[in-house]
Structure formats: structure tokens, C-alpha cells
Symmetry: C2
DNA sequence: CTTGCTTTATAAACACTGTTTAGTAAGTTT
DNA sequence: AAACTTACTAAACAGTGTTTATAAAGCAAG
């Protein structure tokens, strides 16, 4: 029965086509401003058709959510080749911030938005990819502890602290809360705050 | 002419009435889920009436935005009575987190939402209150530097670092990103991360 | 080859949303 | 009492996410 196989393939293609249109529109205009009708227009199908392939708009966001974490994990992988364990950690932080700046909409979806989770927070696998990404951080922090860079022994606790700082810096900027600083200072001040944090944890953690 | 005065008073009362209904509904149901019609229903007026007192929904959010910053500043004031400068800083951080947990919707509006700013980011006074709150942090950090608790000399740079960490911790929790930790661990881990950060900056900053 | 069944797609509708407009009714001034 | 101003609202506009009934196409069996 090659027909059912082809149907499955066609279905997967259609899902991919919808997701690609959605991603494209989302990245260009932001989530809020993109409607199901916009996506339907882009793929030249009726709005109702989308509901045959994705449960609702949140389901569409969830698919992108998974995709986005996959990309962050890919960005994290190369840091493990860095020799010095502390430098490894610094690079990881830089990758996080870099990702946030390059893909603000994706970052939003991964770490700020509440929408795609509300209906899906019951799902246990929602944060599987997120866990993997966080565990990569814990791993690097553990390597710093093992190398004697950090005196503090709880890698997970230290990781949450580091994640919070790097995330806070990114989130405050992306959500335009750095507007309290003059435009010329803004960028440099962020860089300096990150470096200051690096120095501080190297000395005090 | 007492009539124009009374009219002004009535207008102010109406604005207050709308804002109170809006705040009440927003805090109870969240911003997204509250419509102008809901607010209109609550005050027993037509939706169009609200537009005679507030430009649009963003203008309403902006009014609450100002109010919310006023409340945070009030929460910051008592910390200046604390004797030890470092303890003063720790208390300030705790107040920030406390505020975030007690008034998640307000916190959202102040530090996470983008909506009320989009149309208002041209306004220069949008972040006046935010600047005041941040300057209070800078002040306390400067006091720590003066007292010799911190070796690092740039108070604003250090303040941004501290703000980022405390904000990141709050934002990640409020946006349910701590779901990657088990329910029993979550609260304690946050507390520990905050304490670890305090210890780290005391030693290394 | 035709009949019956399943899948796929859509037009139209439903119940909303923020916002604008035209018109009414009440209050104020001349 | 007539003219003007303000406060308010019903209705409409253009949009949203989502559901439902219906039509058309693809496929399997008689």
C-alpha cells in the first residue's frame, strides 16, 4: 500500500509548508501581528485548512518553539571545543545573548511568551528541549567547579544564577527597558555589565 | 466660574473610575483577556465613552504603568533605613522579587510587556519613573562602593548587572520557565540562586 | 465503470476584538 | 426661549481565532 505512505508524506509536506510560512511571517512581523488568515494567504489556502494540520495557533507556536530550542542547542555545541572551562562558560553566555539579538522573535517564544504554553503546560514534553539546553549549562558549570575555577559546589544552583543574569540582560534589552540609558551608552553598558558579571563570578563564585 | 471646575473634577473622577475598573479587571484576568467592552460593562458605560477619556487601550495601560512604578518606588524607600549598606542592597533585591510575585500583572507591564510602549516610545517621559527606580539602585550600590564592600568603582555598570540578575530570576519564574525544575525544588532553588548571587558579589565585586 | 466511502478543502458563520462615526439628549450660555 | 457645547451611545468597520456544513476530489470494492 504505497498510497497511505504518499498521503503521509503529503501531509508532512503540508505541515512543513504551513510552518515555514508561519515562521517567515512571525519573524518578519512578530507573533501578535500575524493572523491565521495571513498564513493562509501566504500558502494560498483557506484559513480553515490550517486547522486540519495544526490544532490552533498555539500548536503552531509550539512547533516553532521546539525548532527554536533545537537551534539554540546547536549554537551551544561548539563551545564544548573551547579548551579553558571558564572561557567555555563565557562563550556560552555570549551565544545566549547573540541568539537573543539575532532571533528576537524566537527568543521571545522560548523564554518570554506565555501564549504557547497556556494550553500546553499540561504536556510534559514541552520543556524537554529546554531541559537539554539548561543541562548543557550545568555541565559547563560543573566543569568549572571540577577545574577549581569555582569554589561553590552546587552546579545547578550556580547555573540558575548565571542563566538569570544573562537572560535578564537579554530580556531587558529586547523589551526596550534599556531605553533609560542614552543610545550611545546602551550597547557598551550591556557589554560591560556582562564582562563585570564574568569577572565577579570568576573571583567570587 | 465654578462650573468648569466641577466639570474638570467630574472628568477626573470619570478617568479614575475607568482606571480603577481597568486595574481591577487587569489584575484579575490579565491584560490580554480584558477588552474595552469588559471595562465599559464594569463601569456601566458604553465602550465608546472610554475613548473620550483615554486615547486607546495603550493609553490606559500607560496610566497603570506610571502607577505601578510609583508603587515600586514606595517599596524601595524603606530599604534606605537599613544600617548596613550591603544588607540595604540585598533588601532592595528582595523587594523587587517580592513585588514581581505579589503583582505579576503590574510587573509584566513595567518590565516585560511591549504593548503600551510601541505607540508611546516616542514620549520622553515614559521612563522617567523607571529612571528614578533604577537610580535608587545605583545610589545603594554607590553606598556599597563607598563603604568598601565592592572594589569595582562603576556603580551604574554594577547596578545594571544586579538588576539583570534579579530581573532575570523574576521574569523566568513568572513566565513559567522554571517548570524545568520539579515543583518542590523550584521555590528553594530560586531562593538559593538569589543568596548565591548575593554571596558572589559580596566576595567578587 | 459505477457505486459508496473517505479524505481534503473551503465558504460562511460565530463570537469576539479595538476603534470610529453619526446622531441624540442633556447641560450651559446668550 | 434659542443657540451652542458637551457627554454619551448605538451602530458600524475592519479585523481576530475558531467551528460547521458543504462540496469536491481520491480511492476501494462490486
Amino acid at each position: 500500500m504505497g498510497i497511505t505512505e504518499r498521503k503521509e508524506r503529503e501531509r508532512a509536506e503540508m505541515r512543513k509548508m504551513i510552518l515555514e510560512a508561519a515562521r517567515h511571517l512571525f519573524l518578519a512581523n512578530g507573533y501578535e501581528k500575524v493572523s491565521i488568515r495571513n498564513i493562509a494567504d501566504a500558502i494560498e489556502y483557506s484559513p480553515a485548512t490550517i486547522y486540519l494540520y495544526y490544532k490552533d495557533k498555539n500548536d503552531l507556536l509550539y512547533a516553532l518553539h521546539q525548532e527554536a530550542f533545537g537551534k539554540l542547542i546547536e549554537k551551544f555545541k561548539p563551545v564544548f571545543t573551547v579548551d579553558d572551562p571558564f572561557e567555555r562558560l563565557v562563550r556560552m553566555g555570549q551565544q545566549y545573548i547573540h541568539y537573543a539579538f539575532e532571533n528576537p522573535e524566537m527568543f521571545d517564544l522560548m523564554f518570554i511568551m506565555t501564549a504557547p504554553l497556556e494550553t500546553l503546560e499540561c504536556r510534559e514534553d514541552v520543556w524537554d528541549e529546554g531541559r537539554i539546553a539548561f543541562n548543557m549549562l550545568v555541565q559547563v558549570v560543573q566543569q568549572c567547579i571540577d577545574a577549581g575555577v569555582f569554589k561553590h559546589q552546587d552546579a545547578e544552583r550556580a547555573s540558575l544564577m548565571i542563566w538569570s543574569m544573562v537572560h535578564g540582560l537579554s530580556a531587558l534589552f529586547l523589551r526596550k527597558r534599556m531605553m533609560i540609558f542614552s543610545e550611545e551608552r546602551r550597547g557598551k553598558l550591556m557589554q560591560e555589565a556582562f564582562e563585570l558579571f564574568s569577572d565577579t563570578i570568576r573571583k567570587g563564585l
